[in-house]
């Protein structure tokens, strides 16, 4: 979609998220935001919530103390009481300080109550390496929550998806972890894209085929979709045709689209930024092998972050990340 949309203004990911929050708050007064530094005058440390506290008031855009457990806890209670809180965890790594509220409470309360108390909240968080923040401010930890039944997990790759998926997340009746890769926030050149105005929602569980191809399927989500597209472009020159599937949501996961694509290409590479070991790629690779065993021409390849903490030095940090060269190498291992 993003390729062909020329009618709508090009926004950055941050602006698209801001717009989704704005639309949701305008639609439903039960939607409110809470998190550190999210109110004016700064509008969040990455300015993603810029303007919202002025427009909707500080009772609906609530700045908190540095207390992630209190933030998610309050969101859980308010959600059960009928609100639709959108909590911000400033960086994904910090979720480790409040994971009890996320997994043991947000994730389990619907089930433990026998369905009586849904927990319709969204946890927005910014994530990702590439900015020289070092080991404690750069991780992608979606696998923890994919492993936790009860939580939905979303990782958008474009501004339009970010907006449409965040609107869906806010009005979804389950807790949703919504991951925004910070490298995309304000980089209009590389990651900007047209975003339709208004209440345009994108359903969960519908992968987006970003590029059609016949030799190999690259499955990814979030920022790494762009790396897959770049790899596809590069390999096209060598006559290797890559299909690029953007999952958009990991829970639910649109396995049908993935399996249809791989059953056509017979080869798959799963790409994500998180550490490879026990990452989401392991789950997807297993699923593909389980379902398409006889049809595959080669084993599913995984390309992820190195199995290390994230180093500070620029060169090492860049080596940590899955790069186009790594994706290319993986493709060449199984084509050729």
């Amino acid at each position: 979609m993003s390729q062909t949309d020329t009618d709508h203004p090009v926004l950055t990911l941050a602006m698209a998220v801001n717009q989704a929050l704005d639309v949701a708050m305008g639609l439903d007064e039960k939607v409110f935001l809470l998190g550190e530094d999210i109110a004016e005058p700064s509008g969040g440390v990455y300015k993603v919530t810029k303007g919202l506290s002025t427009k909707y008031g500080t009772h609906r855009v609530r700045k908190t103390a540095i207390s992630e457990t209190a933030i998610i806890g309050a969101a859980v209670g308010a959600a059960i009481a009928g609100h639709r809180p959108v909590a911000e965890i400033m960086m994904f790594d910090f979720i480790a300080t409040c994971l009890d509220q996320v997994t043991n409470h947000a994730g389990k309360i619907r089930y433990m109550s026998g369905g009586q108390t849904p927990v319709p909240l969204v946890i927005r968080t910014s994530a990702g390496a590439g900015r020289g923040f070092g080991a404690q401010h750069s991780e992608l930890l979606e696998a923890w929550c994919v492993h936790t039944p009860g939580i939905k997990v979303v990782v958008p790759s474009t501004p339009a998806d970010a907006k449409g998926l965040l609107l869906t997340a806010i009005f979804d009746d389950d807790p949703v972890l919504f991951i925004e890769q910070m490298m995309m926030y304000w980089d209009a050149k590389r990651y900007g894209g047209p975003v339709p105005p208004g209440d345009v929602r994108i359903p969960f569980g519908v992968a987006d085929i970003k590029r059609e191809g016949s030799d190999v399927t690259l499955v990814s989500y979030g920022r790494q979709v762009h790396d897959c597209l770049a790899t596809a472009e590069k390999l096209a020159a060598d006559g290797i045709s890559c299909e690029v599937v953007d999952l958009r949501t990991l829970v639910p996961c649109d396995e049908a689209t993935v399996l249809a694509s791989v059953s056509k290409t017979k080869r798959a590479v799963v790409v994500h930024e998180a550490v490879t070991r026990c990452g989401f790629g392991a789950e997807l690779s297993s699923r593909i092998h389980e379902e398409l065993f006889g049809e595959l021409a080669a084993p599913v390849q995984r390309v992820g972050g190195a199995n290390t903490p994230i180093p500070y030095a620029t060169n090492l940090e860049s080596d940590f990340l899955p790069q186009v060269a790594d994706i290319e190498a993986a493709v060449r291992r199984i084509t050729g």
Binding site: F32, H59, R60, R62, T64, A65, S67, E68, T69, A70, I72, G73, A74, A75, V76, G77, A78, A79, I80, A81, G82, H83, P85, D100, Q101, N104, H105, I109, R110, Y111, M112, S113, G114, G115, Q116, T117, P118, P149, G150, K152, D172, D173, D174, G205, V251, P252
Partner: protein
């Protein structure tokens, strides 16, 4: 024991006694059925702590919110969770409050305002703020009461939760049911303050310690805290001192507890003491109370029968209620 000028009216006194008795009799039934092997479950007895929940119970409206912990039977009953569904949930039956899927540690009954029961020490505190915040945002005067133990006051969630409530002046009453032990650890070994209520000062909220075995004093303190919250004047930390008669959980050998201390506490059992006081001061007749107790006993008989005869959940229930709209499998 003589009359108390600070006591509430007779109806309130009897309502408190009713709650206390329901808790006490229910607990006794659980323990006897467990001891005799008729039922099997992990059971955290609230015996000894009845006055506290009765103390806030009579101040709350059905639309007020309560959050509690694994040792929560007294709180569930004080908020009006119906006996049948409660028993069925404790026994893991399809007819339970949570279809048998939550169990005693996770009793939820929104109709009575019993919103969350959690097994993670301290974690109900931040969640209670969310209910308080919802009321504040909605402009209602609903109050949230969150119960937790003395041990819980040392975990991070306590600190963060009370701080947020202090900053936002949330309509929440933080009830620390201080039974002097956290599992096998006496309070003094884990908590370097004499009164947990002292910690309220860190959060800009009033803190008060009350004898949680004194129904009248507890009623008064809870009333003030609930009224403050209802009036939008903010949260209160109430420390109600009490004693855990039967150790941490059923089967606890209690080697770590002082025998004499426990004996003295049980001799001062607040429920019969309150009963005697009600009689002594003419708030009720023996017949009246006996009838009340019989009614409760009959209701418990009924609940036990209901629960025991209820089916276990259908196998399909394993997979429902995980998400609003996604199917899951093994």
């Amino acid at each position: 024991m003589s009359e108390r000028p600070d006591a509430p009216d007779r109806d309130t006194l009897l309502a408190m006694f009713e709650i206390q008795s329901r808790i006490k009799l229910c607990d006794e039934r659980f323990r006897s059925m467990l001891t005799s092997g008729q039922i099997q479950l992990i059971y955290y007895s609230p015996r000894g702590q009845e006055c506290i929940s009765a103390g806030w119970g009579v101040h709350l409206r059905p639309d007020d919110y309560v959050v509690t912990i694994y040792r929560g039977l007294h709180d569930h009953l004080a908020k009006g969770v119906p006996l049948r569904e409660l028993w069925a949930e404790f026994l893991g039956r399809a007819t339970g409050t949570c279809k048998g899927k939550g169990g005693p540690m996770h009793i939820t009954h929104p109709e009575s305002g019993l919103m969350v029961t959690t097994g993670i020490v301290g974690s109900g505190i931040p969640i209670a703020n969310g209910f308080g915040l919802a009321a504040q945002l909605n402009g209602t005067d609903q109050v949230t009461v969150v119960n937790f133990g003395d041990g819980a006051s040392n975990i991070g969630a306590f600190h963060e939760g009370l701080n947020m409530a202090g900053v936002w002046k949330l309509p929440v009453v933080f009830v620390c049911q201080n039974n002097l032990y956290g599992e096998h650890t006496p309070m003094a070994m884990s908590t370097p303050v004499e009164y947990i209520s002292e910690r309220a000062a860190s959060y800009g909220m009033p803190g008060v310690t009350v004898n949680g075995n004194d129904p009248v004093a507890t009623w008064k303190v809870m009333g003030e805290a609930v009224a403050r919250a209802r009036a939008g004047e903010g949260p209160t930390l109430v420390e109600a001192r009490t004693y855990r008669f039967h150790g941490h959980l059923m089967g606890d050998a209690m080697e770590y507890m002082d025998k004499d201390e426990r004996k003295a506490a049980m001799e001062a059992d607040p429920v019969p003491a309150f009963r005697a006081w009600l009689l002594d001061n003419g708030h009720a007749t023996e017949e009246q109370l006996a009838e009340l107790e019989e009614t409760i006993t009959a209701a418990i008989d009924d609940a036990v029968e209901f629960a025991m005869n209820s089916p276990y959940p259908d196998a399909d229930e394993l997979y429902t209620d995980v998400y609003a709209d996604l199917t899951v499998s093994k």
